[in-house]
Each structure stands twice: as structure tokens, then as C-alpha cells.
Symmetry: D2
Subunit: 137 residues, 4 copies
């Protein structure tokens, strides 16, 4: 682990100010699993009261990116190269959380897996895999 | 074609108010190809001045969804079931546009292809395919 | 559970004769998790002695399909609509196994998750998600 | 262009002997677009007489790989890192062809797009995007 939960939280706040309206909050990070919570914010909803697809894509990408930085540290300018997401159930307008783990941490590529559920439920709302390119160190 | 460019523009504005800060603008729709423009907005940028991945995912999903509604009309509650995106080049903080076409329009599923370039350039910044589930009519 | 491990094994053998050279073998099926083993067969290898990507795609698709039929029964003509696979580590020419679980079983779509490892190892060789369209019953 | 159509054909035959039963044939390669044909072979079919999903995945991966080697030459040990495929229409047991183009050729990653149709038809049977990791030279 190269960054603690507190360091990741500070990094997210300072480096991604445009994400502040989404109110993402790192709830857990133990060096293996990271959980990112998304409360209900006006910006995340669609008419009819469901959480928007782009809000969930943003949640999955952000969770995976935070986990990766937790492992390799903040200096690396990792960039997303691929994200594949399946939307599985229509969420009510309710808080969601994204649980993330690493599938592979290579020298050049990292692949992560992200599962989104509503808080207190086991049924998946969405599931994503994301790949990041890690620059030469 | 079930909806014109003007009808899609009005629909986007009225039904997706939370997207207004992104300032997406439908620039072309001829019943086959739809082009959606994303100007530079504060919200789309990341520190260092590149366009954020989630902003591009949102652009691709929105363009594909608009095209699909253009073909099947506004009554259908189509939902995204899968989105796969490859980020190909790091964009400068500059206006992007997304060109979309349909790969398959079935009774239950539609699959679309979205290409993102910077305005006036041919090199792809990102490429996505998206699948939508179409409810029984 | 609509089909037992023995029934799935018989179905795979009788309905997919063109897969026999791959020698896939269902090793576990408990109604929740299915594991499909791929021994080393000439046809699965690439020069240099690594397992070919298409062989692993076939393994993941077959495992997911068997699990789905285990849940919904053999009458349904389910078809793969999407498969996304990440190749994570280059496998030696050695037996692999694919562990599969369901992410969503809907009326019209099922989404499954497949993890490929070499036998006796925990490191992922490949990871796939696959979507199947289920015909109206 | 680093390899001609004749060189690619010879390479495919000598380096991928396990693919010979599939009888893939490079029909066109002009430095930008490559087309790979798949005749009907026993091994490609499923009961009921449709072309199997894994056969189409193999076709798409092989076409993209040939195109990439055509651009960078045979020395590079490029490996597939991601393949995403959408199956769009159920093909009859009839010859298919896969048309491939490059979306990005970077130093470390290449991304390609593959469209599968039946010979003489414009409707897509399947569409894939594939990513290859290119080793340092």
C-alpha cells in the first residue's frame, strides 16, 4: 500500500475538484479492497428518479482509479484505457456503493473489477472492469 | 426517423436537466448518423487540462441514446445495458464531437457505435459501443 | 437448478460435438457456481507453447453458457450477445479452469462473470463477462 | 506497411498451424484495411446450423492480429489484452468475412475494430474491438 485511506481522500478532493458535486466518499481501503460510496446528489439522478448511467460509470472509474493509486502511489499518471460496464438492475434514487478489487497489477497495465450495489443490499446494480495504462517509472 | 433533430434537442433539454452543465449540442441527425458536440465546460476537465474520461463516457452514451430515440421515438423507455469504451488519445482541453451510428436495431436490443474526435481532426480520441434494452411495445 | 452436473455434461457432449477436441469437463456445479476445466489439447496451444486467446474465450463462453442452462434448463435457445474478456497473464501450456457465477438472471438478459486460472493457482489468467439473450418462454 | 498480404498469409499458415482447420484466408490488405474470410468448415458450426460464437471471436481476433502484424512486422510479440464482441445477428451456415481497421497504433497499445458480415451482405453479424499490448522494441 502506497497511500492510506486518508491520503486518497485528500488526493481525490484536491485533484478532482470537479467531482465534488458527486460527493463520493472512500469508506474502506485495506490494501486489497476499496469501497467508494455515492450518496444521492441532484446531479446523479435522471427524471423518473433513477440513478444515471454516467453517474455509475463515473463511480466505477473513480473507485478503480483510487484503488490503483493506493497501490502505486500518486506520482504515477495512470490513465484509463478501457472501461466495460454492464448495467444490471435499475437503482432507485438511493445511495450506492462501489466495491473494487484488482485483477492484475502489471508494469504497464492494471485491470480492476468494480461491483456497484445499493447500500445494504447484495444484488448488483452494475458491474465494470477497467484497464489503466501505467507510465514507465 | 421518429424524431427530428429539433425534437431530440428539446427532449434532451427537458428530460435531462442534470446534463445542461455539459452543454451537449446535437449538430447533425439525418436518420442514419447523429453527431453530438461537447464544448469545453469547467465540469468536463481534469487537472492538467485534459478532458475527463467520465465526460467522454457521458458524451458517448448520450449520443447513442439520442440516436436510438431518433429511430424509435420518445415513448420507449430504453435503458443502457452495456457500454464498452476505449480511450485512445489524451485530448487537450478542446471541444470534442461524437459521431454515432447504429450497428443493430432489433426488437429487444439495439447496439450502437460512437466515435469521439476533437473538432476538425480525424484521429479518434475515444471509441465506444453501447447496447440498449428496448421494452416491449 | 434446472439441470444437474450430469445432465449438463451429457448436453455439452451431445449438442456441441465440435467442442469435443477441446475436452472441456464440468468439474463442479452446485446451482450457484460452475467450474469448467480445459486440459491441454493440441488445438488449444499457440507456437511458443502458450494457450491461445480464442481457446480461453471459448472456455469462458462455454462455462457461462453451461451455468445459464443449469439455471434455466435446456429448452431455452439462449444466445451470447456480448462477451468482454481481459487477458491478464500469459499461461504456460498447462491445464486451466474457469469458474463462473451469475451477476444477473433477468427475464430477457442474463449476465455472467468468468474467471480463468491455471489449476492450483489463484492468479487470474483471464477474466470475462458475458451477456446472453433469453428468448420469451 | 511492414508485411505484405503474401507474407501475412505465409506467417498465418506457419505460425498458427492449429488454425488451419478454420481455413481462414486473407483476402485483402492494403496497409489500412484487412479482410479475412472464413469459409464454412465443420468446426465452425453449431447444431441447428448457425456459426458458433467462438468461431467468430477467433475470426475477429485473428483478423485484428494480422492487421497489426502487417503494420508493425512479425518480430513483435504482440498479445491480445482485451477483446469485446457484440453478436448482432444469427448467421446462417454460410461464409463470413471480417473487415478490420486500426483505431490507434501507439507505442505500447494498439486498438482495432473488426466488423463481421456474411459474404455479399452489408448487415453486421458481429462487431468487435480488440486491444493488443506491443512489447518494447
Amino acid at each position: 500500500m502506497k497511500m492510506t485511506q486518508a491520503e486518497l481522500t485528500a488526493f481525490l478532493d484536491s485533484e478532482f475538484p470537479q467531482m465534488r458535486p458527486l460527493k463520493f466518499r472512500i469508506e474502506h481501503w485495506d490494501g486489497t479492497m476499496l469501497r467508494l460510496a455515492m450518496p444521492i446528489a441532484e446531479q446523479n439522478l435522471r427524471p423518473g428518479g433513477t440513478v444515471s448511467g454516467p453517474a455509475m460509470m463515473t463511480l466505477a472509474d473513480c473507485a478503480a482509479y483510487m484503488l490503483l493509486l493506493g497501490l502505486i502511489g500518486p506520482v504515477a499518471l495512470a490513465v484509463t484505457t478501457n472501461l466495460n460496464i454492464n448495467f444490471l438492475r435499475k437503482p432507485e434514487p438511493e445511495p450506492l456503493e462501489c466495491t473494487c478489487r484488482i485483477l492484475k497489477l502489471g508494469k504497464r497495465l492494471a485491470v480492476l473489477d468494480a461491483s456497484i450495489v445499493k447500500v445494504g443490499d447484495d444484488d448488483l446494480v452494475a458491474h465494470a472492469t477497467a484497464t489503466y495504462s501505467i507510465p514507465p517509472r
